[in-house]
């Protein structure tokens, strides 16, 4: 009964969403208020029904309703309570429901907050959001029905993929989807701007916060994904340039470009066309990413379920891209810039360069990801490019971007004078060069690592310089230091929020640089009592033990670790055996530290416990990546607070 109720809810929601999209569209074209009113009601209904369906699916998981195919495929009687909830979005069908529910929630928030503020765009925004929702509901009812029955009903389910039994997997999809769906709001506004012909600054001002929020959740999703990969998969890395990762990284890159380019339009009324194109591109990339990962056209380490869903996404993607291009062509004349670039040495041009670099990075990631398809189509041979390609091409781009991150916020608008450049950059450049020299003296011999660290120091110096100068001005006005800094952060929250986000990115860059340049690893087989050594650590193998958890059995190795500094610790990497799986899953053990992480993976072992093969890694500075994520969060919160200062 419950599954049928859920299925019915989805069908009704689809009908409501389609009706609402048309009603809102017609009211946008004709200005009929009553139609808009009913479209609004339809949207709220869609949210209630989707949320209800989501709750029903969760209920089916909690009550082990194995008559539902999706439940039987992703849980079993041994799955612990928490993971029964997260298993709801552990695979395709549930992910799509979660996605749809979030999108419907965003739609309701748009209704609540934008109805009055964005009156002229609002009907079209609602139409687009309901249109996108209709697509996802169509997928849910036709291509990937979550409530499909299974007959005969199995006595037990297959269980959740053991790799997903992790707190990171609870939050990672949620954050990622909040990011993906969040970009629907700016996209809807962009389409509304084109539909109404109001392609000026209004839509940008209205969507600034939405874009930041979507961007933030996407960043968070990427970081949590990295953390999951690092502490669950047991290969010791956090990023592999896997197609799935790339799929989420591309919209992040173009979204980052968008966050910056809208500032130029706000300030200088330029780049109207570029901004609209970036929004459309970012939204299209979120769809493309789903298509890429769900269609199975690219082999990935995370092989997702394949099926008709790929065709659905490709079709919708084509509709979005072609429709948007048609609208752009239609409004072509209105998209000319009101302002123009005055000088090559100006903030506008630095931001423009930043945009070019970010879009170029997105393009190289795209190119590398679809390269196997291209080469097979063009030359008939299957060729892929792996991590070396992505690193080689992107590292110069990212280093340039870090440099621009230092220049952009301080260089003058329109035309930077010699005086402006001298005043803002001579100090930080000297600090950066001094830092490079210091790193050399301290023994940093990798030119790339030294350059990356020096750039990081340079950018930090520009931020400190700016903050110090502004604080000093307030001190002269008689304020105390904490008051002055606090006042600055609150009054100019957008500027300093941005700076703090930059600091977060710098800290992440530090972690990436450190882990790439200085991590070491070894693999060895130890007999009981034997010791392995790596980077000052002594790791003694003490023995193996077996123990049972609710849904699996684990073999746990016991290793005593000493490093001369701290007291000996016992580390217990394991191998987990799930009855439904034919091969074991690694249970990594790690000690995290600011300087380095010690990371042990149990590879192979003798059943009598006499010897074990382990992989030991000492990963440098990785923790800073996660710390950077926290700083990024603080900066984002500050940046989206209401502005106290009137825009200049």
């Amino acid at each position: 009964m419950i599954p049928e109720l859920g299925q019915a809810a989805l069908v009704v929601a689809l009908a409501l969403a389609l009706y609402g999209a048309f009603a809102a569209g017609i009211s946008g074209a004709r200005g009929t208020a009553t139609l808009l009113q009913s479209a609004q009601h339809a949207a709220v209904g869609v949210f209630a029904l989707l949320g209800g369906a989501f709750v029903l699916l969760t209920y089916a998981f909690l009550t082990f309703d194995f008559s539902v195919r999706y439940v039987a495929s992703n849980t079993n009687l041994g799955t612990p309570f928490y993971y029964r909830i997260t298993a709801v979005w552990g695979a395709l069908e549930g992910s799509i429901i979660l996605w749809g529910t979030m999108l419907a929630a965003y739609t309701v928030v748009v209704i609540l907050t934008q109805r009055e503020r964005a009156r002229e765009f609002y009907p079209w925004v609602l139409a687009v959001m309901l249109g996108v929702l209709s697509f996802f509901l169509l997928v849910m009812t036709v291509a990937a029905p979550p409530f499909q029955r299974l007959s005969p009903v199995p006595p037990d389910g297959r269980g959740l993929n053991p790799l997903l039994e992790d707190t990171g997997m609870i939050t990672h999809p949620v954050a990622l989807y909040l990011g993906f769906t969040g970009f629907t709001v700016p996209f809807a506004f962009a389409i509304a701007a084109l539909a109404t012909g109001r392609v000026g600054e209004a839509w940008i001002t209205l969507t600034r916060r939405w874009t930041i929020i979507a961007w933030y959740f996407l960043s968070l999703g990427l970081l949590i994904g990295g953390w999951w990969s690092y502490h669950v998969l047991g290969w010791g890395g956090y990023w592999a340039w896997d197609p799935v990762e790339n799929a989420a990284f591309m919209p992040w890159l173009t979204g980052t470009a968008l966050l910056h380019s809208v500032m130029i339009q706000e300030r200088r009324r330029m780049l109207k066309l570029w901004n609209l194109a970036l929004v459309i591109l970012t939204f299209s990339l979120t769809l493309f990413g789903t298509f890429l990962t769900r269609s199975g056209i690219i082999a990935s380490v995370h092989a997702f379920t394949q099926g008709a869903i790929g065709a659905f996404f490709l079709g919708f993607l084509a509709l979005v891209v072609l429709g948007s291009l048609a609208l752009l062509a239609w409004r072509w004349d209105a998209l000319r810039s009101a302002g123009q670039l005055d000088s090559v040495v100006s903030r506008e041009s630095v931001f423009l360069l930043n945009n070019v670099m970010l879009v170029a990075a997105a393009f190289t990631v795209f190119f590398g990801t679809v390269f196997p398809l291209l080469s097979e189509a063009v030359r008939g041979v299957k060729v892929s490019v792996g991590a070396p390609f992505f690193n080689q091409v992107n590292v110069p781009l990212f280093l340039s971007l870090i440099f621009l991150m230092g220049v952009g916020p301080l260089i003058a608008w329109r035309r930077a004078s010699r005086e402006n450049l001298r005043r803002n950059f001579v100090g930080p450049i000297l600090v950066g060069v001094a830092a490079a020299a210091l790193f050399w003296v301290l023994g940093v011999r990798s030119a790339l690592a030294a350059l990356s660290l020096a750039l990081t120091v340079f950018v930090t110096a520009t931020i400190v310089l700016d903050l110090a100068r502004a604080t000093r001005a307030r001190l002269r006005a008689g304020e105390s230091v904490p008051r002055a800094v606090g006042g600055l952060l609150v009054r100019h929250n957008r500027r300093y929020g941005g700076f703090i986000v930059h600091l977060g990115i710098l800290v992440i860059a530090l972690g990436v640089t450190g882990s790439q340049a200085w991590s070491v690893q070894t693999e060895t087989t130890l007999r009981q009592g034997e010791v392995a050594q790596l980077a000052g650590y002594r790791i003694r193998f003490d023995g193996l033990a077996g123990n049972e958890a609710s849904n699996h059995f684990r073999v746990v190795g016991s290793f005593t670790v000493t490093n001369g500094r701290a007291t000996p610790a016992v580390m217990r990497p394991a191998k987990k055996f799930y009855p439904q799986e034919s091969s074991p899953i690694a249970g990594v053990d790690y000690h995290l530290g600011l300087r380095e992480d010690l990371y042990i993976v149990l590879g192979d072992f003798a059943r009598d416990g006499s010897h074990a093969t382990i992989k030991v890694q000492v990963n440098r500075l990785v923790s800073w990546i996660w710390i950077g994520g926290l700083i990024l969060t603080l900066g984002t919160v500050l940046a989206i607070l209401p502005e106290r200062r009137r825009p200049a």
Binding site: S73, G90, A91, L92, R158, N161, L164, L233, V301, H302, A303, F304, T305, L341, D342, S343, V344, V356, A360, F363, T364, F367, G368, P372, V381, K382, V383, S384, V385, G386, P388, F389, Q392, V393, P396, E523, T524, T525, L544, A545, G546, N547, E548, F553, V555, F577, P579, Q580, E581, S582, S583, I585, G603, D604, R607, D608, G609, H611, T613, K615
Partner: protein
């Protein structure tokens, strides 16, 4: 020189640099997908390959002391001996599919630097998993106690 032209030249320089980086990146890190038959027919030493096939039953040898892992990958028509340094990964075993990355060694074997394990999101219950699992649990309980 007008501003417009400056920006145009700047854009062209960036595009050219990017094009070069992509070209160089592709030529240096291209990895060719091959089957055992294809690599047996025309092996090129030094070229990077990704070789996919079935781990031939009875061919798997693992020496924990030296970390030498050897096995044969087959596609039914041809077989390629593979050597790897390191413990067999979790999803690896005889009679199963595997993809290895590495290059062809002139003395007639494939030197794998990486064994790619496939993680699937929804996985199929293997028919015989239960017996192996129970047996393993038994022997480990004995070792642990």
């Amino acid at each position: 020189m007008t501003r417009h032209r400056k920006f145009l030249i700047g854009g062209a320089v960036i595009a050219a640099a990017l094009g070069y980086m992509i070209y160089a990146g592709v030529t240096q890190s291209a990895v060719y997908f091959v089957t055992p038959s294809e690599i047996q027919a025309a092996p090129v030493a030094g070229k990077s390959y990704r070789l996919g096939g079935l781990v031939a039953p009875g061919s798997l040898k693992w020496d924990p002391r030296t970390l030498d892992l050897t096995f044969t990958l087959t596609d039914g028509k041809a077989s390629v001996p593979v050597r790897h340094k390191g413990a067999p990964p979790d999803l690896f075993g005889e009679g199963r599919g595997a993809v290895v990355e590495g290059n062809w060694s002139p003395d007639g074997h494939f030197k794998a630097t990486l064994i790619l394990a496939k993680h699937s999101e929804e996985y199929k219950a293997p028919h015989d998993a239960g017996t192996g699992y129970r047996e393993l649990m038994k022997s480990l309980r004995k070792a642990g106690s």
